[in-house]
């Protein structure tokens, strides 16, 4: 009777099994991209860093694609934006490796995603693709991320004796562009936007935040760019947990992904000052 009482919707999302299948496809394609990149590293005549850049772009592309798939709940339209986002990320990653100035390409990624997301705005509101409810939320996010980043700098320099220095301009800006266009963007898009929002609809805040932050933590711990020393791993766990939970809290409070995104960008902007 409920079906008869409601208008027929021809625009519904796919079933969970279909989504799981498509998620497996995304994972497979991401794995293929990583494998191709790693294989290219060993090929003679190809710049080994380009292979690694391809693998890195594939990983972030996979994150963006999985985010689109979950955000649109398997609706047919997810493939186009996912391919565009993933492709742009791979291109930006390769461009950044070819020249530090190529990292500017990362700054176009938010625009690519924003362009597609605007077309699907009504369907993406549930994941936080909207303006914050409180105008102060972006500032709070930026300040919280900066506080955590500065704390990291102090802790690392005081405890472990790492140097904190104003870095050379170009590599720092290139790294910052990577954080803006890939690192922070994909983390917010997938972990807070798609995963945390979906889990929060079913569970209460803390379980949803714990699971999404746990997945983000795994992603950072598996990142080959993270130096594999015990104290840095412990620090990564500590700060990633705080950052993840903080971003979930910001997403829940403001209803938007923007404050968490700014917090992540601010945190990594501070982190890049650390000479590891």
């Amino acid at each position: 009777m409920r079906l008869l009482a409601q208008p027929l919707s021809t625009d519904r999302g796919a079933s969970p099994s279909t989504i799981a299948g498509q998620l497996a496809l995304v994972a497979a394609l991401t794995g293929l991209g990583i494998a191709l990149g790693l294989a290219a590293e060993s090929l003679a005549g190809v710049d080994r860093y380009l292979g690694r850049a391809f693998a890195s772009g594939s990983v972030h592309g996979g994150f963006v694609s999985a985010g689109w798939l979950l955000a649109l709940q398997g609706h047919e339209g997810w493939r186009g934006p996912a391919l565009r986002g993933a492709g742009a990320l791979i291109v930006a990653s390769l461009a950044a490796k070819l020249s530090p100035a190529g990292a500017v390409a990362y700054l176009l990624i938010p625009l690519v995603i924003a362009r597609d997301a605007t077309m699907w705005r009504a369907r993406l509101e549930w994941m936080g693709w909207r303006a914050p409810r409180d105008w102060r939320a972006p500032f709070v996010g930026a300040v919280a991320g900066a506080f955590l980043g500065v704390h990291l700098l102090f802790a690392a320099s005081l405890m472990l004796g790492y140097l904190v220095a104003i870095p050379d301009g170009r590599p720092y800006l290139a790294a910052l562009a990577y954080d803006i266009g890939a690192n922070a963007l994909t983390a917010e898009w997938l972990f807070r936007g798609a995963i945390f929002s979906a889990l929060w609809r079913r569970w209460s805040f803390w379980p949803a935040a714990a699971v999404s932050t746990g997945l983000a933590l795994v992603r950072y711990l598996l990142d080959p760019a993270l130096p594999q020393t015990a104290e840095l791993m412990a620090g990564a766990v500590f700060y990633t947990l705080l950052l993840g939970l903080g971003c979930c809290a910001l997403r829940a409070w403001s209803g938007s992904l923007l404050p968490g995104y700014l917090a992540t960008v601010a945190f990594f902007a501070a982190y890049r000052i650390l000479l590891v």
Partner: protein, 476 residues
């Protein structure tokens, strides 16, 4: 909140400047901003200030662990690191609980007061919904109350809230809904629907359940009070009505006694006077015969009055008049009466529509005769300036199985508010035009009693100044 964070920064700077990083008692200063934030903002503020204080302290504690490993000073530092957070959480939670209970208590009192007001139920429910929304700290509340057979009464806070079948999942914040029955122990009388964007904690659900119970009890109390008020008002109206009726009856009896004594004395005086004349004087035979005729007429009149009184007394006591039903020719009875009344009242014109067939009737001849005489007598009495009196008899078209006998006049008529009382005994409706007309106020009461005794009834239609129509219906 910003003040608490500023204070943490000041404390950290002061401790560092004083070189007191390793003096654990100085770290107790961090409790102040955590306590401040907890008191001001509850658990959120306390936890946040405690977390920031802990992170700030960590910068001095963690190098200690790095240098010396897990030592007593390091453990001491770790304890002082966690103290502001623990205290911020604990005090904040207590503050939240205390505020919540205060708000709930206030809301309950307000709810009781609002429900006791004599305003429409929907308005009272709207106030209760708003109070409940504030007490629970939720976004939307709807109260639905069964209203005894009619459509349920519902009110929302905010007013525009209409809960969908399934809570909306399109928004950036998930919507949690709780539906609770309003049950004061006699089955659910309604439902309390609570919606919140974000989490609805277990504690909030428990509070909502308790509040639903209190709201149900308050509604039940308000209903009982309203019912009592209604009953009291009804009772007052009934008592006032009965008192008024008793006064009217008392007045009617007094009037009756006055009139009856006059009506009885008139024939008695005539009887006494004429009999005394016959006894004490020599009266010529012809005059004596005339006197005896007067005595006979007046004794017949006296007998009718006494007969009416006896019949009415029997009717009122529930025994009914003694009837001897016989096959009766209604046409013959009507024509005989019209002849008598026409000869006595030449100013009135009698219309008898007896051209059609009048079916035979099995009834007490004397009773039908008295009913007809009473109705004709009234028609003449209440047409003081003469006029037309229309008599009809025949099968009642609108009442199958009944024979109707109706008498219609174009006299003074009866006011609508007096119509319900005209069949009561001893009642004479005040009218200046007919005040001088003789009568005991028994006629219509008697007609009704006789009609009922036959298994029939009497009906009346009247317009003041236009006339009246009485219709007696008797079983065929």
């Amino acid at each position: 909140m910003l003040g608490a964070l500023g204070l943490i920064a000041l404390i950290a700077a002061a401790i560092r400047t004083a070189g007191g990083d390793h003096v654990s008692s100085l770290h107790h200063l961090y409790l102040i901003p955590a306590l401040w934030a907890a008191l001001a903002r509850g658990v959120t503020g306390g936890a946040l200030a405690g977390l920031v204080a802990g992170l700030v302290q960590a910068l001095s504690v963690l190098p200690l662990i790095e240098r010396a490993g897990v030592s007593w000073p390091a453990l001491d530092g770790l304890v002082s690191l966690s103290t502001p957070l623990t205290m911020g959480l604990t005090v904040g939670r207590l503050v939240d609980q205390s505020r919540g209970r205060g708000a709930q208590l206030g809301a309950l009192l307000e709810i009781q007061r609002s429900l006791a007001l004599t305003r429409p139920l929907r308005e009272r429910l709207a106030v209760v919904a708003e109070l409940t929304r504030r007490a629970l700290g939720v976004d939307r509340v709807r109260l639905v109350l069964e209203a005894g057979g009619d459509a349920p009464v519902a009110a929302s806070a905010p007013e525009t809230f209409q809960p969908a079948e399934v809570p909306s999942s399109a928004g950036a914040t998930p919507c949690r809904r709780l539906v609770l029955p309003l049950d004061a122990g006699q089955g659910a009388a309604g439902a309390l629907i609570v919606e919140r964007d974000g989490d609805l904690s277990t504690a909030a659900c428990c509070v909502a359940s308790a509040l639903a119970l209190h709201v149900a009890l308050a509604i039940e109390n308000a209903r009982l009070t309203e019912r009592q008020r209604h009953f009291a008002q009804e009772l007052e109206e009934k008592i006032a009505g009965a008192t008024r009726r008793l006064r009217e009856l008392d007045q009617a009896k007094n009037e009756f006694l006055t009139i009856a004594s006059h009506e009885l004395r008139t024939p008695l005086t005539a009887l006494q006077g004429f009999s005394e004349l016959l006894l004490t004087r020599e009266v010529p035979a012809e005059r004596a015969r005339r006197y005896l005729g007067h005595v006979h007429t007046e004794s017949q009149r006296l007998g009718r009055i006494v007969g009416d009184l006896l019949d009415l007394s029997r009717i009122e006591s529930g025994r009914g008049p003694e009837l001897r039903p016989v096959p009766l020719d209604l046409r013959e009875l009507v024509e005989a009466n019209i002849e008598i009344f026409a000869s006595q009242h030449p100013r009135h014109h009698f219309d008898w529509s007896g051209a059609g067939p009048v079916p035979p009737l099995c009834a007490d001849r004397d009773a039908v005769d008295r009913m007809l005489k009473n109705l004709l007598s009234n028609a003449i009495k209440y047409s003081p300036h003469g006029g037309r009196v229309r008599v009809e008899a025949g099968v009642a078209v609108d009442q199958p199985g009944m024979i109707a006998l109706s008498v219609e006049d174009d006299g003074v008529g009866i006011a609508a508010d007096a119509l319900p009382r005209i069949f009561d005994p001893y009642v004479r409706i005040a009218n200046p035009e007919t005040a001088a007309a003789p009568g005991l106020g028994l006629g219509l009461s008697l007609v009704r009693g006789l009609a009922h005794a036959h298994g029939g009834r009497i009906e009346v239609e009247s317009l003041p100044g236009k006339g009246s129509r009485f219709r007696v219906l008797l079983p065929a």
